[in-house]
């Protein structure tokens, strides 16, 4: 049995931007990303609820192999509600790399703040949040 042993990079990438939106697409010919409906707050009629979201992120100063992870956390309780795993390979440290993660409907159990945290090789790079507010 062979095992895929990867050497992960010690260089910490810089998270340049991260945004939550309704829809995100990539033009197949130009690789340009389009974000539709960028938001950081949602008004909810009734909890619990769920909502599909896309998260756009852009990193730079990355060099080598990275194990990427996005964690969707309820801030008040620290509960991990959803997550996405991926890998990043960058040969050019000066280049910037952007990507989109499409989440299925993520749970929004109650009013409060929810965070999308970005981790590379188990190092915390940054986060973005959405606030869920009860419609009154």
């Amino acid at each position: 049995m062979t095992q895929d042993k990867k050497t992960y990079s010690n260089v910490i990438p810089v998270l340049v931007a991260t945004l939550v939106c309704d829809v995100a697409t990539t033009d197949p010919s130009t690789r340009k990303k389009s974000l539709i409906g960028v938001f950081d707050r949602i008004t909810v009629g009734e909890f619990p609820t769920k909502r599909p979201v896309s998260v756009y992120m852009k990193v730079t100063d990355a060099e080598g192999e990275y194990k990427l992870e996005m964690r969707y956390i309820q801030c008040d309780t620290g509960k991990l509600l959803a997550g996405a795993d991926g890998e990043l390979h960058s040969k050019d440290k000066l280049a910037s790399i952007d990507m989109i993660v499409h989440f299925p409907p993520v749970p929004i159990p109650e009013e409060g703040r929810y965070e999308f945290q970005i981790w590379a090789n188990n190092i915390f790079l940054g986060s973005t949040f959405i606030d869920a507010i009860l419609r009154r």
Binding site: I12, K50, G78, G83, D85, G86, D92, F124, F129
Partner: protein, 135 residues
């Protein structure tokens, strides 16, 4: 805890993909939502993390900063053990942000006074220089 794993293979110059690895996982997420009591206030705090950012464009972290968490009542304390710095907040996220501010402030204060630091602060400044780079 429902967890949806989405395998994303991200390669530079290739189209990022985020297909659902398993539709059943998504259904599990929805089912769990329907049957779950989300009013439980059990607080989950990680024991420690490696911090790779200070949320300040003037500096960047080149070696991760070890952060330990402790909970005191309703508050979370984030401690950068090597730097003797603390951040406080109502949850882990707030404590991290507060710690990031504290470390940044420490860095620039020590940078300003670096010619006349005592032994302890000189030691802290040396550690900061190993971990943080001014742009």
């Amino acid at each position: 805890m429902p967890r949806t794993d989405i395998k994303v293979q991200i390669q530079k110059e290739s189209q990022p993909l985020a297909p659902f690895r398993d539709e059943a996982n998504n259904q599990y997420l929805i089912d769990a939502l329907k049957g779950r009591n989300y009013h439980s206030q059990k607080i989950m705090t990680p024991d420690n993390i490696l911090l790779g950012t200070l949320r300040d464009g003037r500096i960047r972290v080149i070696t991760p900063i070890k952060v330990n968490f402790t909970r005191e009542g309703k508050h979370v304390i984030a401690e950068a053990v090597e730097l003797d710095e603390f951040g406080f907040g109502d949850n882990t996220s707030e404590a991290i942000v507060d710690l990031q501010r504290a470390i940044t402030e420490l860095y620039f204060n020590l940078d300003k006074e670096r010619s006349r630091l005592g032994i302890d602060l000189k030691r802290i400044w040396d550690i900061l220089q190993e971990k943080i780079l001014k742009r």
